[in-house]
Subunit: 364 residues, 2 copies
């Protein structure tokens, strides 16, 4: 097997990739929160990790690629209240939350197919792993790194940071975090403002709720990935991937949770793709500058000069190194369209030029 | 809204369809066990209920169509041991069970798309509802209709039958059942041979296992549908569908479970499709006479004279009333192929003949 070097966000450097078990790779990538339609920004991680997945298999590795669906527990951190994104959106759309989850999961799968992304080996859902998330939360309480208040459970970041390097992955400094983290709902319950929820007590009007040792509630966002990666890839696995926007607090918190429960850091190589920007600003719902994938494919959006095919978008995304930002523009997309056309023409030409065909490829 | 009559298996007669809430229909249909590739026999219920779903919407109803994925807990009842189908098959295929579940779920979705079946509103999984199944089992124990033995929990059918008509749906007589039900593993734990498992203690080698109040184990097959239909459609809903082979013990057991927990029978109308047969024998894995859908589409099977398109198969299935058996034969499929061609030609002709087009449809 030829040698592979990867940039590991954890050490901020390139290093040789050596899997834990020769010939096998376990890879976990954070998947979508299915509370809305995927936009162009969402296309980047899944196309990036599709290429990484294909390349690892091309090198001869047997890869177990796990990519989750977040269908519960992703808190809105922009507003003042920590509420469940799925539940909130479902109230807006006047649907049973799982009906909305199904709609957007189907749309997500449809778009992934259009991009010619291979499906992951396992696509676990947060709601499908409530038992595992509760078990892990119980373990964290038992280990002394989590505490219960009013039916909610929080991870004690300050205590964790006493013996562990919280912030190493994302480059945050715990002392700064203790000072500057924004005030959010539930803060009065927390020992410190950096602490994050493992389980939230559900207010009476909250639709999505499950029984737990702490009463009815719903899981925190970070715990699902720790629970599911441990279940399907083991206490330690090779690659953890996702967008750079997940470095903090999501991946940092995953490391803390998994390290306490499994006594070993979860992943050996952390790979992060950079963001898609519009006029230099990250594309994201909170910035109100998103172009949905259905709009990209149809051209039906004021910022679009024309429709762009899924393969043009794939080519556009892969033209730039995954660790660099990629700025959206009609010009760049049309450049990608032309570039892909040239590439496909060259590929056709090379096929015709194969030995045995009319055109010779030898130099004489 | 025009009147609709349906044959209700529960009363063995046709009756007028009146939904619980005017204008709305809740419909639950038993979905596939994803321990293997779907075969022709599996196509029938999903095509049948797709037409029923479309017809209800055509009549103006807002329909919530729930169809589950059984990815745990479906016991092999053919052999002597009650084991989990998914876990057993995963050991044969040397995969993590959920990796196999993902593979066959993806293949199932692919085939449903080929058949032009609309996706259901919600497609819940058994593993995604462990908490709900445990809660329902606890309720059944509390109500006195279930008992725990060695970490497994069984439903007490004899006790239920004292005050309820167990066997009404499937036409079984409880006294006969108490005498004739086959001996299966776990019988020595049961009070009576008719009792069925709500939760099974997992032996050490069992891969799929969850924590429960009775130790680590996995849910029984019947409880998942009671838990999921209650969660997404309420204590009582309009239509419950599935193949006639599910009448007993599956649907009969669902009625018993739900009636105790919810104090009302789960569904008002029970609709069952009949089986696809080969030489008069039900097509099924246990009869070793299945033709998989991929084989139907490719023609690559000794019993097939040619490949049949998904639309030909859809037409073949819909040519026969869903309550009649449908015998597989190349002749019948080729007849369906010709019939569909004629239908499509007539449709094209009618489109051309629309007012404003060249050909007149008036009789003068």
């Amino acid at each position: 097997m030829s040698k592979l070097k990867v940039y590991n966000s954890f050490i901020r450097d390139k290093e040789e990739f050596v899997p834990l078990v020769a010939g096998h790779v376990g890879m976990y990538v954070c998947g979508p929160t299915v509370s809305g339609e995927s936009h162009l920004g969402h296309a980047r991680p899944y196309i990036t990790f599709d290429v990484i997945y294909r390349y690892l298999m091309h090198l001869g590795y047997k890869v177990r690629y796990v990519r989750n669906i977040t269908d519960a527990g992703h808190f809105e951190e922009e507003g003042r209240e920590a509420v469940d994104k799925i539940s909130t959106k479902a109230q807006i759309e006047k649907m049973e939350p799982m009906e909305m989850v199904q709609k957007y999961t189907n749309l997500f799968h449809w778009a992934m197919d259009k991009f010619n992304n291979l499906p992951p080996s396992i696509e676990p859902t947060a709601t499908g792993h409530i038992v595992e998330q509760i078990t892990m939360t119980e373990e964290l309480i038992r280990a002394g790194y989590a505490y219960q208040v009013n039916g909610s459970v929080y991870f004690d970041v300050k205590k964790y940071a006493e013996k562990h390097d919280y912030g190493k992955l994302s480059g945050r400094v715990i002392e700064d975090l203790l000072e500057t983290t924004r005030e959010l709902e539930g803060q009065e319950e927390k020992k410190n403002r950096t602490d994050f929820a493992l389980w939230k007590a559900a207010p009476p009007e909250h639709i999505m709720r499950w029984k737990s040792p702490w009463g009815e509630g719903f899981p925190g966002w970070h715990i699902e990935c720790s629970a599911m990666s441990t279940k399907y890839l083991g206490k330690q696995f090779d690659i953890h991937g996702g967008g750079m926007d997940l470095l903090f607090p999501h991946h940092e918190s995953e490391i803390a949770q998994s390290t306490i429960c499994n006594h070993v850091p979860p992943a050996r190589y952390w790979i992060h793709n950079n963001m898609i920007t519009i006029n230099g600003k990250k594309m994201g719902k909170s910035y109100n500058n998103v172009i949905r994938l259905t709009e990209m494919f149809s051209g039906d959006h004021p910022m679009l000069e024309k429709a762009y095919s899924p393969m043009t978008i794939r080519f556009f995304i892969l033209q730039t190194h995954y660790r660099s930002t990629l700025d959206f523009s009609n010009e760049a997309l049309q450049g990608a369209e032309r570039g892909m056309k040239r590439l496909m023409e060259a590929y056709e030409w090379l096929k015709q030029a194969e030995p045995g065909n009319q055109i010779s490829t030898t130099k004489d």
